[in-house]
Symmetry: C2
Subunit: 505 residues, 2 copies
């Protein structure tokens, strides 16, 4: 038995938890237990399910001081950030309770029997049902909002799926305490035992993707781990959907007109965005496209000055910091790339300092520069200087698809339209005159994007539509009304949105 260890990245202090890594047999047992209650859970009334999510939010909130203190120890992310993240996490559970109450996520549709050009059509009614137990992989960088009590867990429960969660090794004590709060909330709500499970350890994570009782996977994390588990999910006897949010380099373009108008403001703002949470955001803007002109120079020098004033920062773990340092070296080695801030060998253990590079757009577009286009997780960005619109366009074309694409424009700006249009081909969210490092939980949010930003271009891990991942449609043909789900009855007792004979009501 291997005991799980909690490490404080700021002090290096380690403590063994009273928890051991989960065996493969236990993973099987937990996923089968989840499967054994799946139908019971799916059958419960929607109003009950919404109330359950609100109970969970209440329990997390009631334990806020304790949870934030644990996370502070394990992540060094700072109390204000962690308090905000936990508020958001509670809000997220309540938001998904609202999504359940709304009921439109069911996609209820009724076609009464009728004649058609191809002969008589039977009575057809469609709804979406939960997939079954899903596994959720907590992230390193958001101990609450994208971990045990995060959006994947909240949306899966909202969809009616039991959840077995893999705790991230960077914050096991926080994970356990959050899980305890989830379980308290679930018990208060009267949920079946086994609805929620928590596992620890690398082997347990792999087993959780393999487990036959698991029907889908939600993952937030690195490209390397995400792709390996995605391949594993595809290699099963019965492959399952794998929703991986893998991060991105996130281009941010400043037009010549915008640079002329407010170079310093954008430069200072960018320094804040790229170092927010020690640059450990999947939406960190990593590629900054700036005109090669005097305004662009001002922007760069403001950015360099702002970064230069920052003290060394503590990353989430030594492994992540090592990865950041080696990524920095790879980027520095690209020909034609010039270091503006930082230096090799800077930092040790979990301590790192901000890094900034500069490269001409023509160099960025070269095949030998692929290292510049990949995400480097941490406080690092690459400034790409462009001479002309064609220069900019060519450089943007070779950039990988991303979670976000930001454009800073002037009030009247010839470059706005084409950049917004290009942006929507390259990313899941296009932002004008704002930084991408905030992802609001709302009805209209999409947090996703084409490969390699995610493993599935249609899925979002934030916002109301996150629930879509855990549902599949079923059509009922000629089924007597008393055997239909309530949302498919003619008298619509739940009052959900229904499409009836082709008309949305």
């Amino acid at each position: 038995m291997t005991y799980v260890v909690s490490r404080n990245p700021a002090t290096g202090v380690e403590s063994e938890l009273d928890v051991v890594e989960t065996s493969v047999a236990q993973v099987t047992m937990l996923s089968e237990l989840a499967a054994s209650v799946a139908l019971d859970f799916a059958r419960r009334p929607l109003s009950w399910r919404a109330a359950l999510l609100r109970e969970v939010a209440d329990e997390l909130e009631a334990d806020a001081d304790h949870l934030v203190t644990l996370a502070l120890d394990e992540t060094a992310l700072g109390r204000p950030r962690l308090e905000g993240e936990l508020r958001r996490t509670c809000f997220q559970f309540r938001f998904f309770a609202d999504v359940i109450d709304d009921g439109a996520f069911l996609n209820a549709s009724i076609d009464h029997a009728k004649d058609s050009p191809m002969g008589p059509l039977p009575d057809l009614r469609r709804i979406r049902v939960p997939l079954g137990p899903v596994s959720v992989f907590g992230s390193s960088n958001f101990p609450f909002a994208f971990s045990v009590p995060g959006g994947d867990t909240a949306s899966a429960l909202a969809a009616g799926c039991p959840v077995v969660i893999k705790a991230h090794p960077a914050h096991p004590a926080t994970s356990q305490a959050c899980f305890d709060a989830l379980v308290r909330g679930a018990r208060k709500g009267g949920a079946p035992e086994g609805l929620l499970g928590l596992v620890y350890g690398f082997d347990a994570g792999v087993a959780l993707v393999d487990a036959p009782a698991i029907h889908a996977v939600g993952f937030t994390g690195s490209v390397l781990a995400g792709r390996a588990l995605w391949a594993r999910a595809n290699a099963r006897t019965v492959p399952i959907p794998f929703f991986g949010e893998l991060g991105a380099a996130n281009p941010l373009v400043v037009t010549p007109a915008a640079a002329k108008e407010r170079a310093s403001e954008i430069g200072a703002g960018f320094a804040g965005s790229m170092t927010l949470g020690v640059g450990q955001f999947c939406t960190k803007p990593g590629l900054l496209f700036i005109p090669q002109d005097p305004s662009g120079d001002t922007l760069v020098s403001t950015l360099v000055d702002a970064l230069g004033e920052l003290s060394p920062m503590t990353m989430l773990s030594e492994g992540i910091a090592e990865h950041f340092r080696s990524g920095t070296v790879t980027i520095a080695d690209v020909d034609g790339n010039n270091r503006l801030v930082g230096g090799e060998g800077k930092g040790e253990g979990t301590s790192v300092s901000a890094q900034l590079f500069e490269v001409p757009a023509s160099v960025f577009a070269e095949p030998s520069s692929t290292a510049l286009r990949e995400e480097c997780f941490g406080p690092l960005a690459i400034v790409i200087r462009y001479l002309t619109r064609e220069d900019l366009s060519s450089a943007l074309e070779v950039a990988d698809a991303a979670l976000t694409f930001s454009v800073f424009t002037a009030a009247i700006d010839d470059d706005a339209a084409w950049l917004v249009e290009l942006g929507q081909t390259k990313a899941g969210r296009v932002i004008a005159n704002g930084f991408p490092t905030g992802v609001g939980v709302s009805w209209s949010m999409h947090h996703g994007g084409p490969w390699p930003a995610t493993t599935n271009p249609s899925a979002t891990s934030v916002g109301a539509r996150g629930i879509d991942r855990w549902l599949r449609p079923v059509t009922y043909q000629g089924i007597p009304e008393e055997l239909l789900p309530e949302a498919l009855r003619d008298d619509n007792p739940l009052g959900v949105a229904q499409r009836v004979d082709g008309v949305l009501r």
Copy 2:
């Protein structure tokens, strides 16, 4: 250069077409051409796109006699069936034009800027955009409705995606003539040249999955080919979504009460359903669960008599007929399985005869009986006799997930509720007192199901929601209104369904 050959399965007559198999270079060229017009096509007004689909329907309809004559030669499916299938195909294009006009498929959502418990939220607006060029693999068994002019093509065009189609080798002349009609319709509608492409040959099909310009694949066909291409799509440098509809064994359960009430009617109906189109339907009911009692005996003997009266039938190709005969042998070899109709060595070339087997539920549930649970494409079914509800339930539990799950019940029937509930866990469509071999094109249809019925449990290849496969969401944050898609503007000039600040309108 290999010329494409058209074969008449009924007469064996072959003729070389004035078309050669498509080279890999040509596949690349066609997919890049499609990509070069993708943005232009996506930008056109929705009303224009709907009109385009109606033009295509008109062109297919205008050429109906010619198309049906070609398909009759190449498939031996019979004129009434082919005429009906072409009517359905034209209806399907017009139906997707209605889906475009409706506009709800865009999932338009607007959240105005506001304060939230986590601080101010920016203006966020989400819509779904086309994925880009997609490839469609025509099926063998539906030369119109699931081939060149089929539902995948219609739904992808409706979504705003260019389409490059792989013609099925069983009906190349029909494919070419259908493609010509599509192109005439596209030209009349003023579509950009290159919006549609057609390729022939095995290597061209593989190249079409590999082509970097292709963003998703729609496939209808065998489990073997579908899984191989699915793996290929996943093995790309940039993996793409692969929507494979692979067929299924499709359980059909007759309760003891239903058997008592109308054994002969169900037996005769089943004979018709399992041999419809020579059993070459992916929705063919292949597993018939019947009580082991006198009513069940009556049902079986009616079915045996009905099948015995049928003449030999012509399958779509010699390859398909060979596969059917060898599948029959595999099934006959399972211990405890008893042949009721048909015989080994029956038929040659494309000619086959109906086959029926009978097995106790307890034998069906044994691990050594997996061959009985897999789809055998053609006029074959397996009767599974059950003694008790537990016996039935155990046998159904081991059946693979399927496209459909049918239940025949009496007016008052204790078995109806649990069978409908079990059915929705096992299939994409649950049918009461009807046969599964009709798949209506409608708003509420779902033609899909969990693996191995399809490669994606949330996707449908028939009905309005087929469009979902070819779209991905994009969120616009703080984008000036004049740069937003029309469907996301506050004044909603298109009149599409919008969710505004959380309220569906």
